[in-house]
C-alpha cells in the first residue's frame, strides 16, 4: 500500500513536472523556400536555425516548403497557426511572401521572427509589436553600397533590381546614400535569368559603375553574362549575389567585386568562430549570410525562452526586445521598430586556395539603423 502510494505520488510529481515544463516549451513553425529556384537560401536559413536550436529540448520545429509562392506560404501559415498551434513563425526568405504572411500572423497574437525578408512596409507604418527582424531592414545593405560608391568615387551608376518589394527597397536604399547621378534605373522580372537586354543598355548608358540587387540564381546569370560582355566598369552590390552558396556558380567573374554585408565569416568574435566551425562540421560546407541569420534567429529565440514563458506574451516580447544573445555579427541591438542596429561591412570577393569567398575590407556604416523608425507607431 505504502509502495503504491509512493509510485502514485511519483507519477503525480512527474505529471506536474511535465506541466511545468510545458510552459517553457515553444513550438516553432518554419515556412521557407526549399524547392525550385532560390531553394539554396531557404536551406541555409533552415540549417543555420536548426544548428542553433540543436540539443534544445524545449523547442520543437515544424518545417514546410513555400516553393517561393505567396499563396502556398499563406496556406501553410494558416495551417500552422490553426491546427499545429505554433507559438512562433519564422523562415520566410522573400519579401512578397513576408507581406502575404506576416501581418495576419502577428495580428493573431503569434510572434514572427524574420531571418531574412525585411520589407519597408513592415518597418514603417505596418510595424507590429510581435514582428522582429533579425536580419536587416531591406534597405540596409543597399544603403551601405551607396555609401561605398561615394567613397570609391563613382559619379554615374547604373542600377537594377527585380520588380518586387525588396527590389524597390534596394534601389531606394542605394539612392538614399549615393550622391552621384544615375545612368539608368531598371526593374527586371523576378526570376529572370537572361540579362542580355539590360547589359546592352548598360553599355549604351555610359555609366562608370553598376549597382545591382539580384538574389539567388538571378545574380549568377547576370555576373556571368556581364563578365562576358567585355564591359569593364566596377560592380557593387549587396552580399546576396556574392554569397558562399552561389560564389562557386558565379566563378571567377566575381573576383574582386565589392559587396556589403552585415555578416562575414571572418568577423572576429567567439560566437561567430564557433558558428562557422560548427556549421562546417555539421553540414560539410561554409556557411552563408543566410545561415548566419537563421542561426542568430534561433539564438535570439533561446535567449528569450530562458527568461520568460511564451504564454506570458508581454514578458516574452520584452525579452526578445533586449536581444540578449551573442550574435555572430558581434554588436546587435533592436531599434524601436524591431529591426537590427548593427555594423554593415564592405567585403571583397577573394580566392582562398581554390575556394572563392569574402574578406572584410572596411566598415561601411557603423551602428546602422533604418529610416522607417519614425514612421512606426508602436
Amino acid at each position: 500500500m505504502n509502495k503504491l502510494t509512493m509510485i502514485f505520488g511519483a507519477f503525480l510529481l512527474m505529471f506536474s513536472a511535465s506541466v511545468n515544463a510545458d510552459g517553457h516549451k515553444v513550438k516553432v513553425g518554419m515556412i521557407t523556400t526549399l524547392s525550385g529556384g532560390g531553394s539554396g537560401l531557404g536551406i541555409d536559413v533552415r540549417d543555420g536555425f536548426m544548428l542553433a536550436v540543436k540539443n534544445n529540448k524545449n523547442i520543437s520545429v515544424i518545417i514546410k516548403d513555400d516553393q517561393r509562392k505567396p499563396d502556398i506560404a499563406v496556406q501553410i501559415a494558416d495551417k500552422m497557426i490553426q491546427s499545429d498551434k505554433v507559438d512562433v513563425l519564422t523562415g520566410i526568405i522573400w519579401s512578397n511572401l513576408a507581406m502575404a504572411v506576416v501581418p495576419a500572423t502577428v495580428n493573431q497574437g503569434k510572434f514572427y521572427l524574420s531571418p531574412n525578408a525585411g520589407p519597408s512596409a513592415l518597418a514603417g507604418k505596418g510595424c507590429h509589436k510581435n514582428y522582429f527582424n533579425v536580419a536587416w531592414q531591406n534597405d540596409n545593405l543597399h544603403e551601405a553600397a551607396g555609401g561605398y560608391a561615394n567613397s570609391a568615387g563613382f559619379k554615374k551608376s547604373f542600377i537594377l533590381a527585380p520588380n518586387y518589394p525588396a527590389g524597390k527597397d534596394a534601389l531606394t536604399g542605394y539612392k538614399r546614400f549615393f550622391k552621384g547621378e544615375l545612368a539608368g534605373e531598371i526593374y527586371t522580372k523576378l526570376g529572370q535569368k537572361d540579362y542580355a537586354a539590360e547589359i546592352a543598355q548598360i553599355r549604351a548608358s555610359g555609366a562608370d559603375s553598376i549597382f545591382f540587387f539580384l538574389p539567388g540564381g538571378m545574380g549568377i546569370g547576370f555576373m556571368k553574362q556581364f563578365s562576358q560582355s567585355g564591359i569593364k566598369i566596377p560592380v557593387v552590390g549587396p552580399a546576396f549575389s556574392f554569397d558562399q552558396g552561389i560564389l562557386k556558380a558565379v566563378g571567377n567573374a566575381a573576383l574582386g567585386v565589392k559587396n556589403t554585408s552585415q555578416w562575414s565569416k571572418d568577423i572576429k568574435n567567439k560566437a561567430n568562430q564557433k558558428f562557422v566551425a560548427d556549421f562546417k562540421s555539421a553540414y560539410g560546407r561554409l556557411p552563408s549570410l543566410y545561415a548566419s541569420q537563421g542561426y542568430d534567429t534561433g539564438k535570439l529565440l533561446i535567449s528569450a525562452m530562458s527568461k520568460a514563458k511564451i504564454k506570458d506574451t508581454d514578458r516574452f516580447r520584452n525579452e526578445l526586445r533586449k536581444a540578449d544573445f551573442s550574435s555572430t555579427r558581434g554588436k546587435f541591438k533592436f531599434s524601436k521598430n524591431h529591426h537590427p542596429i548593427q555594423d554593415i561591412y564592405v567585403r571583397e570577393v577573394i580566392k582562398e586556395g581554390k575556394i572563392l569567398t569574402n574578406k572584410i575590407i572596411s566598415v561601411g556604416l557603423k551602428d546602422h539603423s533604418n529610416v522607417y523608425v519614425s514612421e512606426c507607431k508602436m
Binding site: L34, S35, G36, G37, S39, G40, I43, N163, K168, L171, L182, E185, I186, Y187, T188, K189, G191, K193, D194, A196, A197, E198, A200, Q201, R203, A204, G217, I220, G221, K224, Q225, Q228, S229, G230, G245, I246, K248, A249, V250, G251
Partner: protein, 306 residues
Amino acid sequence: MALILFIEQLLNGIQFGIMLFLISAGLTLIFGVMGLINLAHGSFYMIGAFAASIVAGLTGSFWIALAASLCAAAIAGVLIEVLIIKHLYKRDHLDQVLATFALILLLSEGVRWLFGAFPLYLNIPSSLDGSILLPFNIMYSKYRMFIILIGILIALGLYFLISKTRLGIRIRAGQNDREMISALGVDISKLYTIVFAIGAALAGLAGAMIGAIQSIEVGMGEPVLILAFVVIVIGGIGSIKGAFIGSILVGVTDTIGRVFLPNFLNYFMESSNASSLGSSIGSMLIYILMASVLLLKPSGLFGKSE
C-alpha cells in the same frame, strides 16, 4: 547610338527566340505526332544542363559537355518514353497532363536528391569568351552569336530531316494519320520513341547552352516550358515552321518590349515609376501577343484548322 542599341537588342531577341525554338521544336513534334501534351519537357532541359555541368567538371571540355547533354537528354527521353509515356498515348489529355506533371516533380526531386539544391556551374570555353565586332560597330557577345548559329543550323537540319528523309516522311505521315501509317507496316512505337528522343535531346542541348551563361539549378525548366507552350500555341501546334517563327516572334517581342517600354513611358512619368510600370507591362507583352494571334487565327499561325 540608338540604332546600334536597337540592333543589339534585336540580336538579343533573336538569340532568346532561338533558345525557345530548341525547346518548343521538340514539344510541338511530340504533340503533333503522338498527340501527347508533355509537361515534363522542361525536365529534359534541366537534365541536359546538369549532365553538361557534370561532364565538364570531369573532362574539362565544354564541347564534350555539349555532346553529353544531347546524349543524356536523349537517353532520359527514351527511358521515360518506354517506361511511362508509352502508356499515355491512348489516354485523354487530362491523364497526360497529370502524369507528366507528376514526372516533373519526380525528376526535379530526383535531381535535387542527387546533386543538391545549390546551383551548379558550367563555364563557356575561352574561344567563345568576350565579344566580336559586327558591321556598324556593334559589339556582340561571341557566345550568343554561337547560340544563334547553332540554332539556325538545327532549324535547317530539322527542315531537311522532315522534308527530305524517310524518317521525316513517316513523321509527317504520323501527324496526318496514325492508324494508316501503322497499317502500312511502319513500326509506330519505334517511330514514337525516336521522335520523343529527338525532342528531348534538343531540349537538353538548349539547357546546356543556356546553363553556361545562366545558373544550373533544380526547376530551371519550368519557366522556360511555359514560354515554349506560348510559342507552339502562337506558331500552331504540330508545326516546326510555326515553332520557329513563333519563337523568334516571342523572343523579339519580349526583349524589345522589356527594354523600350520603360524608355517610352519615361516621356510621360517619373523615371522609377516608368521603369516599374514598363517592366510590368513588358512581361505581359508575349501573352498579349498570344491572345491577339489566337483572336485572328484560332489554330495558330501555321496550325491546321480543325
